[in-house]
Amino acid sequence: MMWFNIAKAQSFMPTQGTEIAKQVDNLYGFLLVTSLIACVLVIGGMIYFVWKYRRKSPNDKTAYISHNTALEFLWSFIPLVIFLAVFGWGWYIYHQMRAMPENALEINVIGKQWAWEVEYKNGYKTVNEVVVPINQDVKILLTAADVLHSFYVPSFRIKQDAIPGRYTALWFKADKLGEFHLFCTEYCGTSHSGMIGKLRVVSREDFDKYLEQGQEERFLPLAEKGKKLFAVKACASCHAVDHPGAMVGPSLFQKFGHEEVMDDGTKIMFDENYIRESILEPNKHIVKGFPKGVMPTFQGQLNENELSALVEYVKNLK
């Protein structure tokens, strides 16, 4: 049966980032095959019979078969056995999902409208980005600030509601490096679909560095912090900061305090508010000569503090 899982289920299921994900996919593959067989039997049987016994004349005589106890017992009993087997298999995997490992690395995550706030044990806080080391049991301790949210990483096949007023938890052990989507799946209002984060799996060393940097970042001057963010968010790949030449996007060098001409002819002062707006709603006012829709929004990916840092950094590009 395993060949089938590899052939079918994995072709549309997200990357398997954990051992549990593989187990879930195996069970899912089994169910997929069983379901397919069941559907072929029922639907195929249906089509075969209705065609074979289609009405040939208005006076067709039909057989009088009211029931068949043996047959009926059999087709009640067989599904029951299959269902119970699937249930048992599911129980086995689910128990592993729910049994929290001891000595796991704990990370606190708070769901709020509309972002994930992540806090590590050393006090480092980020938004919409969870970074974990590879091959390490990680326990996410969840709660919510306002309404229900749900923490969902498709590649890990894990999901858990975040409930205001109490803690819930889930755990995983990532065995693949990389970046995975983190969705909110419990409907939470206006920007429910924008509450997307990243779960980054890194090596042990990178993780330690990450935490250390995070620790340091808190004490950096605001402009320094902005510089770091500018790099982390890859802003530099589109915006020049040390010469006035345009790249994909307009240069930010020596722009602060000057008026900019927009694509609709209006002039806007390049001030703190314009920088902020351009980060959060990049397509609202486009500088003349640049296409719309190129820059992604950073809405929900930066907290106020980080925004101020970026503004401060751009302000100081002299």
Partner: protein
């Protein structure tokens, strides 16, 4: 009867004027009134569905097409009304209130339901609730989703209490209908019609009525508590006041899971009727089908927790609910096998109601097996609140209930209106709806497996292609329903006069004229055999 003058020979022309309809206690007329109103709400709910799909045609990064609905708020409102209208005003009342009201007394050889005036009252309750629900649209539109999950529903726009009250009143209507059916079945069967000689549609309505009676009050109380919580802030569900937001989910699904069966069991009843009539053959396993309806109804009360596998309930609770949910699969599977077996050595005629029955079995099989997947704990953890669930319940509710409802309409159309519809356009309509349905909803299974969460107004580009296909499918469904509407209107205006029993069916409603007279039967029928004696 206040107005005894101007008798026509059937229930439609028996009395004249709009007032005679609004004050009627004739179950057939009440059934028709439900028919018109429910179809109207179906139209509204359908338009909203098309809007949602149009919005999801492309992620918002793409120009124009993705921007039909101004922002997330508008999308969320439309999504809420689509759900609430389709559930509370279309699919729950659809079969029992329209076809049940019309045919339950006819199929058991009774003159009317047991409490005709309560029956009329239930229509007025339904209308009052529906109007109140629609009215919220013109105040502050609600955006909670049809499930009203706390604490979001406590915090958001003020019309929630109004909507909840509307659902409460409509629930009342559902309870009254259920009560009426139970008493009617027990008290008003024609001489000779034992319980085991009742048509299977009646069995299904009977099982449904029990659910309506027992489950709906729980919803009523829950919604009332929610309203009280909003107005007085007494701290039942609001965590800020020490309440438990998850408690609401327990209450809510204690009704709403049985409600899913309020939707599907009557549909199964219709399918049983269609299959034996158009196979000209006695149904296979009558008793098994009849009792499996009751079995499903009974078990349905104990499975609500499968909606909450990831809500933070304990591991043990999850396991118990998974086990119980698996059990529902058995009586459901029994029905499917019985229907297939009925075709064996039958004489199958592919009339449009039969096409709908076959369509039902096809879609319900897929809805059923994906239901088993969702009942399986670790798989549900991945699929919960993704498009997989959306696809699954549309397969069951639209592919199941709506297919049966449409098949039922065509089947009983000649009896209800005394006219025949155009078979060709009815078939064309079916083909569009069936293909369109699969094109719309099958890709959503894959989207869900890929991890696309539900109730998303926007999505990451990886999900774009499948969403495009899905939206195109919704247009095919639209074409199908437009052709169906044409078929119905054309049949009503220009249809040929229907004979008493156009399909050669054996059940009692076909033993009276089309459309039936005011008192259903000119001579009281006497039953001497089972309902499907095709020999």
């Amino acid at each position: 009867m206040a107005n005894t003058k101007a008798h026509g020979d059937n229930y439609i022309n028996f009395e004249k004027g709009i007032w005679s309809w609004l004050t009627t206690v004739d179950h057939k007329r009440i059934g028709l009134m439900y028919f018109i109103t429910v179809m109207f709400f179906f139209l509204i709910g359908g338009i909203m569905a098309l809007l949602l799909r149009l919005e999801l045609f492309a992620p918002n990064a793409a120009p124009n097409v993705g921007q039909i609905l101004a922002n997330g708020d508008v999308y969320n409102q439309v999504m809420t009304y689509h759900g609430a209208i389709m559930v509370f005003m279309v699919i729950v009342p659809g079969i029992p209130a329209i076809l049940g009201n019309f045919f339950l007394p006819l199929q058991i050889g009774a003159k009317d339901v047991a409490f005709p005036r309560i029956n009329l009252l239930s229509w007025y309750c339904f209308m009052a609730g529906a109007i109140l629900a629609i009215a919220t649209f013109f105040t502050t539109k609600i955006d909670t989703g049809w499930t009203f999950y706390t604490p979001y529903s406590i915090r958001t726009g003020t019309a929630t209490a109004m909507m909840v009250l509307a659902a409460f009143i409509m629930g009342m209507s559902s309870i009254l209908t259920g009560l009426n059916f139970i008493v009617t079945v027990h008290k008003l069967r024609a001489p000779g019609m034992t319980m085991h000689r009742m048509p299977l549609f009646i069995w299904s309505l009977y099982a449904t009525a029990i659910l309506q009676m027992l489950a709906t009050p729980v919803l009523g109380i829950t919604l009332l508590l929610l309203a009280v919580e909003r107005f007085l802030g007494i701290g039942i569900f609001d965590p800020k006041l020490g309440g438990d937001p998850v408690l609401f989910q327990h209450f809510f699904w204690f009704y709403s899971h049985p409600a899913v069966y309020i939707m599907i069991i009557p549909a199964m009843g219709i399918i049983s009727e269609l299959i034996t009539t158009f196979s000209k053959k006695v149904i296979f396993g009558y008793t098994a089908i009849a009792y499996s309806s009751l079995g499903i109804a009974a078990v349905s009360f104990f499975v609500w927790g499968h909606h909450m596998f990831v809500s933070g309930q304990s591991e043990t609770t999850g396991i118990v609910f998974s086990f119980l949910t698996m059990l529902v699969g058995v009586p459901t599977a029994i029905k499917m096998f019985n229907w297939v077996a009925t075709f064996y050595k039958g004489s199958v005629e592919f009339r449009s109601p039969m096409l709908y029955a076959l369509g039902f079995m096809f879609l319900f099989a897929i809805g059923g097996v994906t239901g088993v997947m969702l009942a399986t704990l670790p798989i549900d953890v991945h699929f919960h609140d993704t498009y997989f669930v959306v696809a699954h319940f549309h397969y069951v509710m639209v592919g199941g209930t709506l297919m049966a409802l449409m098949g039922g309409y065509y089947y009983w159309f000649p009896k209800m209106f005394g006219k025949m519809y155009n078979e060709t356009t009815a078939r064309i309509s079916f083909v569009f709806i069936f293909i369109g349905f699969n094109v719309t909803f099958f890709p959503q299974f894959i989207l869900g497996a890929m991890g696309m969460p539900r109730r998303y107004f926007d999505y990451i580009p990886a999900y774009e292609n499948l969403n495009k296909i899905s939206t195109v499918g919704s247009w095919l469904i639209l074409i199908g329903f437009l052709v169906g509407l044409y078929t119905i209107v054309q049949g009503l205006m220009k249809g040929e006069k229907a004979p008493m029993n156009p399909w050669g069916s054996k059940t009692l409603e076909w033993q009276t004229s089309s459309p039936p007279p005011h008192d259903n039967f000119s001579v009281e029928p006497v039953v001497t055999a089972g309902p499907y004696e095709y020999r």
